[in-house]
């Protein structure tokens, strides 16, 4: 079972979100990927206004609406617009089909403004995904590092949070999050550098590591290789490729009556 934690509607052909989703699924089929989590629309916005949030989330709703058995939608939120974000969370998750939250680079995730979003998402049992990077060439103004998500996770110790990209520079990212047990590592969206997954499993345990691709801008291959090529037990590969994500998602899937 392979579930992909991290996909977008970019990097593939198609005039509509549905067409792009269809293309992505067709390629995922070649790699044996059963389910794709998708978030953010087209084009991307670093610091989206409430209107842009709604537009991008509508595109994702369109995309997943056509492929409900293959896709999961995460709602894109911006902590700079708390009321609008909470409204989107209710529209897309509480009353809609989405099952997760995506937070990107508009605001560092360590700030307390995020707390209402985390609280409400936790009430809804939504999976929470926060982008992070330790970028040696410089982070974007609001871009979080894994140290930011550690702060957030300490304030919400019972809420599982996914550390997107594991900080990109994974040797730093894994170290940063290893002591905070409610943080999970996303393998997606960096180069397939050998040793990444071995270190993640060694330091975090296989139960805290999830495969994701960052497709379509990344290839499924380069990201799957982080798991297939790693010198770790087969049981760990199964956890990373899908079982961990399924376990994180089961509460909300059950609550929504979604079979998986």
């Amino acid at each position: 079972m392979i579930w992909d934690l991290h996909c977008h509607l970019s990097g593939v052909d198609g005039k509509t979100p549905e067409e792009r989703m269809g293309q992505l699924i067709a390629i995922a089929d070649r790699m044996g990927i059963e389910r794709l989590c998708v978030y953010m629309g087209m084009p991307w916005s670093l610091d989206p206004s409430p209107e842009t949030l709604r537009k991008e989330n509508d595109q994702v709703l369109q995309a997943i609406g056509k492929f409900p058995k293959r896709t999961f939608g995460f709602v894109y939120l911006n902590p700079k617009h708390i009321e609008a974000s909470l409204a989107e969370l209710d529209r897309c998750v509480a009353r809609g089909p989405m099952v997760g939250v995506k937070l990107w680079v508009a605001q560092h995730c360590s700030v307390p403004e995020l707390d209402p979003i985390i609280k409400r998402a936790a009430e809804l049992k939504a999976v929470i995904f926060q982008h992070t990077w330790f970028n040696a060439t410089g982070n974007k103004p609001g871009e979080s590092t894994p140290l930011d998500i550690v702060e957030l996770a300490r304030r919400h110790p019972t809420v599982p949070l996914i550390c997107g990209h594991t900080g990109g520079d994974w040797e730093l990212g894994i170290r940063a999050i290893r002591g905070q047990k409610n943080l999970y590592a996303d393998l997606a969206g960096s180069e397939p550098v050998a040793g990444y997954t071995e270190m993640a499993v060694r330091e975090l345990g296989a139960e805290r590591v999830s495969y994701g691709s960052d497709a379509g801008g990344r290839s499924f291959s380069s990201q799957l290789a982080k798991v297939f090529g790693a010198n770790i037990p087969e049981s760990a590969k199964k956890l990373i490729l899908g079982e961990n994500l399924k376990r994180l998602m089961m509460p909300i899937l059950k609550a929504k009556g979604i079979k998986a």
Binding site: V12, R30, D169, G229
Partner: protein
């Protein structure tokens, strides 16, 4: 989201897949089956059934900034053989920071002889900023019988419009050697603060190659930074590439819609990258048997034997 590679927009043309291509894909998946079914996640079983591969981009010795899982030659060779790699063109990580390239190349040649007979082909390092680099070139060609040399302009601190590069290219070409130019080994965003080596700018290369049509040049690790028209320009003047850093979904197939079919070779950038990344890319794109054969081995074989 974090996708520095924008090859997507410039290479993706779309269009229908042919029935032939679909059939070939099925055949290929049946042959490789590394991840073809979700219930089967073991790669080992199918490895020996995969097509014969010539890997044009591997390195021996140790990456200077961490231990790579396969950075001892016997382990790397075992991995390559397990995936039906019949030949691998090996440079050396020692070349990145060492000044004594003469000994680095001698060790590379010896390591290939002792551990990689029949599979590892040594590609010596050449640094044209070093005094008397011409002697390194001579030893690569005459003493070690290497069929090519590998340049690392980013680590060695010169640009491709530097006259030193042109002199090295001409000298290697006079000796009928393949010239591999690695634009960069690592994502700029994850480099050590003490040793930043931003990817080399390939912009001047097409014009230079136009002046020297007999030069045989392969650009390694190109697609992290090289995209769009510069790739097409380089392909038009005969440059070859390999797929290690090629991203976007189904990127190989998309790129082959844009450049002549003989320009792209298989390359893994192992052991820095997981070898499986390059191999799975052959499955991710809907390739015809001719494309697959060209990419897997034919293009590389021709490049080395011209």
């Amino acid at each position: 989201m974090n996708q520095p590679n924008a090859v997507a927009a410039s290479f993706r043309l779309g269009g229908p897949t042919t029935a032939l291509a679909r059939l070939n894909r099925r055949e290929f998946i049946a042959a490789t089956a590394a991840v073809a079914v979700a219930s089967s996640i073991t790669t080992d079983a199918a490895e020996t059934k995969s097509p014969a591969l010539i890997d044009t981009n591997v390195s021996l010795s140790r990456w200077p900034f961490r231990r790579c899982p396969l950075d001892d030659t016997p382990s790397l060779v075992a991995k390559l053989r397990g995936h039906n790699v019949t030949q691998a063109w090996a440079g050396t990580f020692d070349a990145l920071l060492h000044k004594d390239l003469s000994s680095a190349n001698a060790r590379l040649a010896d390591e290939c002889r002792r551990h990689g007979k029949g599979i590892l082909v040594p590609i010596g390092a050449l640094n044209p900023t070093l005094p008397n680099w011409e002697e390194d070139l001579r030893r690569c060609a005459e003493q070690h019988k290497m069929p090519g040399v590998r340049l690392h302009p980013n680590f060695h601190g010169y640009k491709l419009d530097d006259p030193l590069f042109e002199r090295a290219l001409v000298a290697a070409t006079e000796r009928r050697l393949l010239v591999q130019i690695s634009l960069g080994e690592e994502d700029d965003r994850t480099q050590s603060a003490l040793a930043k080596a931003p990817s080399a700018d390939a912009a001047p290369l097409a014009a230079i190659l136009k002046q020297f049509p007999k030069a045989r040049v392969q650009v390694l690790n190109a697609f992290r930074t090289l995209r769009g028209k510069p790739v097409l320009d380089l392909a038009a003047v005969g440059a070859r590439f390999e797929i290690a850093t090629l991203e976007i979904v189904a990127g190989v197939g998309e790129l082959l819609k844009q450049i002549p079919p003989d320009r792209l070779c298989f390359g893994s950038h192992a052991p820095f990258y997981y070898f499986e990344s390059a191999k799975l890319k052959l499955q991710e794109s809907d390739l015809t048997p001719a494309q697959l054969a060209a990419l897997s081995h034919d293009n590389a074989r021709k490049l080395l034997t011209v």
